[in-house]
Each structure stands twice: as structure tokens, then as C-alpha cells.
């Protein structure tokens, strides 16, 4: 079945967030209806000398206006050039790619654990849960960063009505310490609740989240990042080892994996 396409589209809105983070909205993009939380798009920076695409998780969609949003941090030459794009500049979107988060059951509480640049797909996920009638009071949104300046889109996340728990290394916002330590406190103080974990962020955070899931026998999923030459499963450049042996492609078998699945 043909369900992946390359589509030219245009930057229509650009917001500069704090700390070298940007929010870009592209449109019209005909496949917004097929974009679910966890999915990513592979972005060709048309109009630049950068040859390979850049993988960006979907941070939001506006189905009526056929718009798609990504949030990225300037990390290297590609994202640096992208950050200089102006509205009306062209990109080519390959996608939507990858798998998606499994929503929590009605009986479960969603414990979302975002770290640094890992928050955009989780913000999209929480938003879609709420839009689909999941009680926002049953979503715990933990978000860790080094300082207050690393915790982005705060009012947008709070507006969803979720229980928001910012955590910073230096205590400049919310709790002070490691986000996964705060999550463990939360798990320990809610022994009678059915919890389901969702993590996306730096490797150390994913590893700690994986350990929490295994230690307390909690189900959940982690969204991984990897350098992705192709994004569609044909180059085998993005593989990660699995605990059960063998390998998985982050782009085509993930990016979302079950807790306990990947040898992190």
C-alpha cells in the first residue's frame, strides 16, 4: 500500500522560543490527518546545500487549516540553517513516519516524562488525549530541564488542564533535582493507582525511566532518537540493540518502543 509521500510545503509561521528553540508551522500539508503523536516527519531543507533530511517529531497539527508544527533546537549546521528560514521558504516533507504512542486505558493514569528537546511529541500526545476525551486530571506531565529557561511552552501545556510538574537541576523552576527522581517519588506515593509511563528525552533519562518501569512493574513506552539517514527503514543506519537479542530500526520499528524492549 502506498502511504508515504514526499510533499513540498511552505513555512507559514515561525516562533523563536527561548534557548535556541524554534517552533515552525508548515502548510498546507495534505497528510495532517494521518499524523499521530509519536510520528515524525523527515524534512528536506530545500533552498540549502544540506543534502540529507532532518527528522523532526510532530509537535502539533491543525487539521482544519492543514498545518503541521515542529519544535526543534539548534544543534548543528542543519538546524542552524533551518532556524534562518523565513515564512514563504520551501521545505519538502517525507512522512508521516514511524509508529505512535499507545493511549492509556480509561483505568490508567498517564505519567508523561519529558526531558529537554523530548517534550514536543509528548505535548502533542497529551493534547490529543485531552481532545479525545481523556480526563486531563489523569495526566501527570513531568518536564525536566537544567534551568527554568529549558522548560518551554509552559502556558500551553498548563492550558491542557494536565497536572504539570516542572523539574530543574538548579531549582529555578518547580522541584529541584532529576525529573526521574521526582517521578519515582510520585510512583511510590501512588501505590494503588494503575500508572502508565511515557518518556522522551536524553538517553540517561530514558534509561532511568526504563528502570523505573521495570522496578515497579509499570507498562509504558519510550520514544527514541537516532541519527536517521533515510527515516523509512531502508539504510539500517538507525538501529538499536534489543534486550531479547537482535536489533530494531528506530525509524521504522519505532521511534516508540515498550519499556524493557530496548537495551539502552
Amino acid at each position: 500500500m502506498i502511504n508515504i509521500s514526499c510533499e513540498d510545503t511552505v513555512l507559514i509561521k515561525k516562533r523563536s522560543l527561548k534557548n535556541a528553540y524554534f517552533s515552525f508551522t508548515f502548510g498546507p500539508y495534505s497528510r495532517v490527518d494521518q499524523c499521530y503523536p509519536g510520528n515524525f516527519i523527515h524534512l528536506k531543507l530545500s533552498e540549502t546545500q544540506i543534502y540529507f533530511r532532518r527528522a523532526m517529531s510532530v509537535a502539533g497539527v491543525n487539521k482544519k487549516k492543514k498545518e503541521i508544527e515542529i519544535i526543534f533546537k539548534v544543534m548543528g549546521r542543519g538546524t542552524e540553517l533551518l532556524s534562518r528560514f523565513k515564512p514563504t521558504d520551501h521545505v519538502n516533507i517525507l512522512g508521516p513516519l514511524g509508529n505512535t504512542f499507545t493511549p492509556p486505558r480509561k483505568s490508567e493514569r498517564a505519567v508523561i516524562i519529558a526531558g529537554g528537546i523530548g517534550f514536543p511529541p509528548l505535548m502533542f500526545f497529551a493534547g490529543e488525549l485531552v481532545r479525545n476525551g481523556y480526563d486531563p486530571e489523569r495526566i501527570e506531565f513531568f518536564y525536566g530541564g537544567r534551568t527554568a529557561a529549558d522548560i518551554l511552552e509552559r502556558s500551553r501545556i498548563k492550558k491542557l488542564g494536565v497536572n504539570f510538574h516542572p523539574v530543574t537541576d538548579d531549582g529555578s523552576l518547580g522541584h529541584r533535582g532529576l525529573v526521574t527522581r521526582m517521578v519515582e517519588e510520585y510512583i511510590k506515593s501512588h501505590p494503588d493507582e494503575k500508572l502508565r509511563l511515557y518518556g522522551c528525552g536524553p538517553e540517561a533519562m530514558l534509561k532511568a525511566t526504563d528502570s523505573l518501569g521495570l522496578k515497579y512493574s509499570l507498562p509504558g513506552q519510550l520514544s527514541l532518537e537516532a541519527p536517521m539517514p533515510c527515516g523509512v527503514g531502508i539504510c539500517l543506519g538507525c538501529v538499536v540493540p534489543l534486550k531479547a537479542g537482535g536489533q530494531a530500526r528506530v525509524c521504522a520499528d519505532g521511534p516508540v518502543f515498550e519499556i524493557g524492549e530496548v537495551a539502552l
Binding site: M1, I2, N3, I4, S5, C6, K44, Y51, F52, R53, L94, A226, P227, P229, C230, G231, V232, G233, I234, C235, L236, G237, C238, V239, V240, P241, G246, Q247, A252
Partner: protein
Amino acid sequence: MTPDLKVTLAGVEFKNPVMTASGCCGYGEELAKVFPLAKLGALVTKSITLAPRPGHPPPRTAETASGMLNAIGLANVGVDRFISDIMPFLNRQKTRLIVNVAGSRIQEYVEVCARLNDIEHIDMVELNISCPNVDEGGMEFGNDPVMTEKSIAEVKKVLRKPLIAKLSPNVTDIVAIARAAEQGGADVLSLINSVLGTAIDIETWRPRLTNNRGGLTGPAIKPIALAKVDAVYNKCSLPLIGIGGINDYRDAVEFFLCGARAVQVGTALFVYPDAPVRIVEGLKEYLKRKKIKSVNDIIGKVRKY
């Protein structure tokens, strides 16, 4: 008038001269989600070895200026699972099928080829005697004319399908290797495989590939690949398949002019997975614009000084 894109290699007719390159399209299942594989001249599979191989640990790709390095390390499902799990899918595809075979001993090439013999849908076998990413085998065979001739001759003893020998650019005299392959009984030559290279992270002083080195591919290697095709064309009588940095129909035309009868598209698939379809369309328009009836009319027609 639509120009004729059909080409014939070793008696096998291809509806157009644009193929995928080995290792850049898996076994075709993913590309089938992007376009009908019937639009390809041929699908060339990832290298198949006798036993399954996990490949090298990550990181095994690194982006470079106008290209990339890879040291995937011939990760593949092995010939048995290829036949039982992958062939049923490939049998349903209305495209020519070329299976690429790799090994670390001559006997391994021979055994894999023997198992492919009876599979009707496989049109040709491409022998990877040029992989820079495994310690033993691969490039070792393709580096030396004697070994090249010997390994091809041994395979030809058992294989009942036309054989393509895939050549490495990492040699002093590619013409000598090409002639040795012809001597051994190869029916077609494909060139080039990736160019040996590496890259270092200056913060950690670590190579950017766990294999310490890898193969350079993509637009960066196109001039090298063209020069190799040009060097081999007319120096041996076998038809040539050009490979290396082909990104659009213009690149493909350059290869035809230098003597390639078909082309394979590798790294470009990572940017536009439908690149072969775009190249076929571009080629048609080009020939129409030039009022040329058949792609065969431009092969080797570079007007040299």
C-alpha cells in the same frame, strides 16, 4: 513519441535502465509503500550472506560534505530467511529482481548462489566483491585480479543465471580487475561500490563509526564513479551498470554518455525514496527534448577532447 527506455543486459530485457543500489533499499518492502516497484528497471537487494549477520554496532553511518559514510557491515537476514520470508513478497512484485550476494570465503558465495538458482523470479545475481566494511572477504576478493577471476569462475560453475560483478573503486587499476572479472565469466559489471573513508569526532577523538572506517557514498563520489566507468568502458566487452552519487536524471545521463547501459541509485533513496521514478520521468523528458529515440543511442557517446 515516447522515447524507448528499454535496455538489455546479458540477454535480459529491462523496461528502463534505472535500478536501486544494493543496501539502499532493503528488500523492497519499504519502497513499496512509496511507489509501485513495477516502475523500477530492477530492484537490487541488500547483500545476502549464507548466515544472518547483525552488522556492526551503531553508530554505523555519519553525514559528510555532500555524502555519507556507512559501515553497516552487511547486516542481512541470511539466505534461508531471505528465501522463506522475503521471496514471497518479492514474487508478487512485477519488477526485475537482482539479488546481491556477499561472502567471506569463495565457498560461501558459491553456496548462496546455488540456493538462489531454482528461484525463478530472480533474474540476475550481483556479486559483491567490493564491500569495504568487513574485515575478511568482500573487498579482499575485488582488490586482486587473481582472486577476482577465481571467485567469479567458481560461482559461474554453479550459477545458472547471468552474473554481475560489482567492482570496488578502492584499487590501483580497475581495468585490470574488470578484465579479470570478464575472464572469470562475469556477464555484466557494476561500478562503483563505496569509496573507503572515515571521519573523526574532534571532541572525543573517536572515529564517527564503530568500525573506525566506512564507505563514502552520495553526490561526493559521482566524479570518481564516472571516471571509473569511463576507464572501463571499451577496455572490456561487458555491459556496464554505473553507480555512485546518482541523484537525478542529469547524473544518470552523464553515466550513459560515459558508457553505462544502466544505472543504480543508492544514497539518493535516503533523501527522495521515489528518486528512481523521478529519474525515469526526467530521462524521458530529456530524450524527448533532444529528439533521441532510445536511451541506447546515447550510451558511450561522450564527445571527448
